[in-house]
Every structure is written in C-alpha cells, then in structure tokens.
C-alpha cells in the first residue's frame, strides 16, 4: 500500500476557490476520512488525488513520486464512486474484471482474481447477473470488488454508502472497516456523514469552504474541536455554542453569560474577555436551582428511543440537553443545568478558533 502526500493542493473554478492550499500526509495503511458539509471541497480534493480533475496549484505525491500530471489510468489508485458507476452492459464478473482486461492480464489469472474477490465480498452467486438485477448493497459490493481486484496502492471512496438505507449502511460500514484492517489498505474516504467518519476513520480531515479546519483522530476532533465550525459540525445535536465572558473570581475563572455562570477548569484568574462557550449536549446534567450554572426554559423534548433531547431557551440562546429517556422534562418547564469544568470549551468570538490554556488563552492554529 502507498503513502499519499498533498502539498498546497488548490483548485479554483473561475473566481471561486473550491480547494484552498491543502497540505496533508496520508500514511501507508491509514483510513483518512475527508469530512465536511456539501460544497466544502472534499469531493474536488478526492478527484484531484484520483487525477480526474487537474489542480490549479500544488502537488500530489504517491510514495514520494509526483503524480500531479499523471493520467488516472497510470496512477496506482482505485476509486469507488457514489453511484457505484457499474457498467450496465456487463455482468458482475465482467464488471469486476474490467480493470484487469485493461491491463491485458491472462484470462486464467484474471478469472482466478475475480473468483477470489467475489468470494471475499460474498458475490460468487451473483457473478452472472447484470447490475440492474442487483440490490443497492450488492451493487456497492461489486463496486468495491472492482477496486479490490486491482490490488491498488490506495483506495479512494467518494461517499460510497450514501445511496444505501440506514440498516445496510451500518452493516456495510463494518464490512469496509474490516476489509481495511484485513488488507492494511490506504483509504481516502469522502463523506458528509459524521457517523461514518467517527466509526471508520483512523484520522478525520474536516473541511469548510475549501479550507482545512482540523486534522485529527476521531477522539481529537470530537473532544477538542479546533473551531466553532468543527464543534458545530460534529455531534448530534452538535455542541452548544453561546456567547459568554471570562470573569476572574476568587482565584479561579468563571464563564458568565445571560443566565449562565460556570466555573472553568483553570486554577488561576484569567483576564476578562469575550468568548464563545461550548458544551456538548450530553455533558449538561440536570441539577438543583442552588447548584445550577445554567438556567432556562424547556421549549421542546424529542424522543430518540433510548434517549431524549430537550431543547431549552437560555437567555436568547438555544441549548440542547441529551440524556437517557426519560429526562423528566416537558415543554414549558424551568430547567437548571450544570456542566463539569473539564467539559467546557472556549472559542475566540472573532476567528472562531479554539482557545487553549497556555498559560493564557491564545488562539490556536489548525
């Protein structure tokens, strides 16, 4: 398997910059997920790696070899498309064997490889069928098979699960993860689904408006979001973000806002300044009026089955609280909440970047 390096990769469409100066190093055997909302440039980035779209600037390196201007067919990369892109006139076997025929592999060798891949993906019984005779999940496996059969340097996957129903998506997610572990393959995977990213990735790259927002393990991006964008994108519901101010008090520092007064984890008095206070819905807990750091009113309660989400109004801001069902709250109820200091996040209101204690709060870079 191969290592992929992106050096200042940029793509402009007229005056619009779709991908802006991306530097990345995808290690051999890594499962890197490009995550972001629609239009953030993740698919454009993947297509540039694949060679389907020429970059406006920067370089793509595969195992230290510059492949920026190498045609896709000469790159040792296989791609799985969102629509699967199966050739409708060919059987499953011929679809899987298509890349091998292009390489003029001996027929016997090709057939053996197709049989191997079909066995791995449980497609042996379907080899004579045409794509239109397959279910969505089976088509997805054929598309995977066509990529696998080539033994490529790396796999590029462009939202391959987005056309599957929720149940099938969950099982296929597990299959792809298992396949990645078995093959120790390098995978660059594009998705806008944070669950896919969190469950499959060894590292997540968060993109927004073509710019790299944060790169890190799933735990890092969830637990220490580098910006309000990342904090607001990950999690369901996402992190609560409310305006507040730092206020020194009794040798400690507190975050204060409308109906908010929470103790921060810094064992020192920090100078007063405006901040954006972040706290995840699952880190808010109900408490007594005396202990409450946040006071508000419940506006609505959503039943998620095992859990409930209460939407509360605190001052003029909306906050979500998530906990096991039943929370014991109803719309209109007053609510008193607290959060442990270590679960509070601070962001710069202007740049949106995370504020870190070093030893004074400063804006961090991505």
């Amino acid at each position: 398997m191969s290592r992929i390096q992106l050096e200042g990769l940029t793509r402009r469409f007229g005056s619009v910059t779709a991908v802006d100066d991306i530097w990345l190093d995808v290690a051999d055997g890594e499962f890197l997920v490009l995550l972001g909302p629609s239009g953030c440039g993740k698919s454009t980035l993947l297509r540039m790696i694949a060679g389907l779209l020429p970059p406006t600037g920067g370089r793509v390196l595969l195992d230290d070899t510059d492949i920026t201007h190498t045609p896709p067919r000469q790159r040792d990369l296989a791609m799985v498309f969102q629509s699967y892109a199966l050739y409708p006139h060919l059987s499953v076997a011929r679809n899987i064997g298509f890349p091998l025929r292009a390489r003029r592999l001996p027929k016997a060798t090709a057939q053996a490889k197709i049989a191997d891949v079909a066995a791995v993906l449980d497609l042996t019984e379907l080899l004579d069928r045409k794509p239109k005779e397959l279910s969505g999940g089976q088509r997805q496996r054929v598309a995977l098979g066509r990529a696998l059969v080539r033994d490529p340097g790396a796999f590029l996957m462009d939202e391959p699960l987005s056309n599957l129903d929720a149940k099938l998506r969950s099982s296929t997610r597990a299959e792809i993860s298992a396949l990645h572990q078995r093959l120790a393959a390098t995978v660059v995977y594009v998705t806008h689904d944070q669950v896919e990213a969190m469950t499959m990735a060894t590292r997540i790259v968060l993109l927004d408006k073509g710019k790299l927002e944060q790169v890190g393990t799933p735990e890092q991006v969830y637990d220490e979001p580098a910006s309000t964008f990342v904090a607001g994108f990950l999690g369901s519901p996402p992190m609560n973000l409310v305006p507040a101010s730092l206020a020194p008090a009794d040798g400690r520092t507190r975050a204060r806002g409308t109906d908010i007064d929470l103790l921060l984890p810094f064992a020192t008095e920090l100078p007063a300044r405006p901040v954006v206070l972040g706290v995840r819905p699952e880190h808010l807990v109900l408490t007594t009026p005396e202990d409450a750091g946040i006071r508000g009113v419940v506006r609505a309660v959503e039943n998620l089955g095992s859990e409930e989400v209460a939407h509360c109004l605190v001052g003029d801001d909306r906050l979500c609280l998530r906990g096991p069902r039943p929370l014991g709250l109803r719309a209109g109820d007053p609510v008193h909440l607290r959060a442990a200091p270590e679960h509070l996040h601070l962001f710069d209101p202007d740049s949106g970047r995370r504020l870190a204690w070093q030893p004074t709060p400063v804006a961090t870079s991505a």
Partner: protein, 293 residues
C-alpha cells in the same frame, strides 16, 4: 385453563380501504372521441398504402377499377415490373447505399458527439454550433459544389458518389451529443480509473451502453437514406441505379404504366415496412428520441 399469546392489533392500524371510485363519465366520453379521431387519421394514413398494394395486385385490365377489393388477384403487374426493370439489382443497390450511408453517419456522428460531449477543448461551443449550423444549410446550396467535386473525383454515376458526400450527418451528431451529455460522467471516470484510454472508453463503455440509441438512430438514418430521391437522381444518371430512380421508367409522356408502377413502388416500400414490423419499438423510440414527428 389455557393461555394463548396472540399478536396485538391496534385499532388505528385497521384502515378501511374505500372502494375505487368509478371513472367519471366525462373521462370516458373524451376517450371515445379520441379513439374515433385516431381511427379516422389512421384510415387516412393507411388507405393510400392499401390502394397502392390493391392496385398492384389487380389484373392489368382492372388497374383503373374503383372496387375496394382487388379481385381476381393477379401478380401480372409484378411480373411486368421485373421484366421491364432490373428490380433485384436496384433493390440491392438501394440497400447497400442506405446501409453504408447510415453506418457512415453513425460512425462520424458518434466520434464527433463523443468529442463534443466528453472532452473539453478550445472553441468547443463555437465548433459545435458551426457543426450543427450545417444542418440549416439547404441541400440546394451544397448540391452543385458536391456535384462538381464528384465530377472531378470521377465518382459520378457510381454508388460511392451517392454515399460519400452524405457520410456526415449533423442530425446524428446533434442527437448523439444530446444523449452523451446525459451519459453518467461517473461511468467515464470509472473507466478512466480502471485503465482505459479515451478511445478504449468509447468502444468498451460508451458504445455498448448507447446500443439502443445507436440502433434507433441507425434505423432512422437507413429510412432517410432509403427515401432519398433527389441526390441519387443527380449522381446516378442511369435510371436503373437505385429503386427510387427505377420507378421513373414506368412514367412516360404518353401516360403512366400504373400497374407495374404500383408493383415496383410496393416492392420499394416493402423493406421499410418489414423493418418497421420487426423493429417497431426501436423505430418509435428513434422518432421520440429525435424529437421528430
């Protein structure tokens, strides 16, 4: 005492299915009128064809008879047509010209449409507009230059002379480009990733996937070439070159030889009717896809 476990049924899960509402009378009335109009139009279209074959099957002395049924049936007019002209050779020549013209137009149309739809290059739009613009140039404008060129190339009075100037069809390019514009781009990209060149993608992915479209367009082009009269008449000065021209030999200043003329015309139409019968679905498809009526 025994206990049983049964699936519970909630009352709100039981839904009464109302009986299907009767079709309103107005809808039925409109349907009947529509069918009557279509039947009259069909009759108006089919009657001349019926009359052609009916006349061709009458005895030579009954050719001017107005009876609806041709009785007694006679094949004398057909025998006369075969005796007076070389029908078999003319039919073969017409078939060769129609098929080769259609194949040529399909090939040039496919290559041009593929370039216009799948590639990006300078002045692409302008070139395409100019290409399609040739469709608007009347035949009469290009007729004489083509004729002079054929004369200089010594292709007058040959089947090649009929075929070569018509090998490129703007209609074919236009239709195929439209289809290729709707062709899934991911299929082309997948083939590129799978190691195919542009040429390879055309023949291993595009052509097999577009087979129904190519078949439909091919039929349309064959029919158009088969029905062509003016250009073959210019290039082939001999009247027995193609079947369309052969029909002229039954027409004279002293009157038309209606019996054999109808027989020859019936034979000329027969291949197209057979093509229609066998490939009815594809031909209708071709007209629908082309937007022509």
């Amino acid at each position: 005492m025994t206990a049983t476990i049964e699936p519970t049924v909630h009352e709100d899960q039981v839904v009464d299915h109302p009986a299907a509402a009767d079709e309103p009378v107005g809808h039925r009335g409109r349907g009947v009128v529509g069918h009557v109009v279509l039947a009259v139009l069909s009759l108006a279209c089919l009657f001349p064809i019926y009359w052609l074959y009916a006349t061709s099957l009458r005895a030579p002395e009954d050719v001017y008879s107005l009876s609806v049924l041709p009785w007694p049936l006679s094949l004398d007019n057909y025998a006369d047509a075969f005796a007076k002209t070389d029908m078999v050779r003319m039919l073969v020549n017409t078939t060769v010209v129609a098929v080769l013209t259609a194949l040529g137009q399909l090939l040039t149309g496919l290559l041009a449409a593929y370039a216009f739809a799948a590639w990006r290059f300078r002045f692409q739009k302008l070139l395409y507009l100019m290409f399609v613009g040739t469709w608007l140039v009347p035949f009469q404008v290009t007729m004489l230059p083509n004729y002079v060129l054929l004369s200089q190339l010594s292709l007058l009075n040959t089947l090649a002379g009929v075929i070569v100037p018509t090998l490129c069809s703007a209609l074919g390019v236009l239709l195929l480009r439209q289809h290729l514009m709707g062709f899934p781009k991911e299929l082309l990209e997948a083939a590129r990733m799978d190691g195919r060149s542009s040429w390879g993608i055309l023949w291993t992915v595009v052509v097999p996937t577009l087979r129904p479209v190519l078949a439909a367009l091919g039929i349309l082009l064959v029919i158009t070439a088969w029905n062509e009269y003016f250009w073959p008449a210019m290039v082939l000065q001999r009247s027995n070159g193609m079947v369309q021209l052969g029909l002229r030999s039954f027409m004279g200043t002293e009157g038309n030889d209606w019996g054999p003329l109808m027989a020859a015309a019936g034979l000329t139409c027969l291949p197209i009717f057979l093509l229609y019968l066998v490939l009815q679905r594809h031909i209708v498809n071709a007209f629908v896809r082309s937007g022509l009526k």
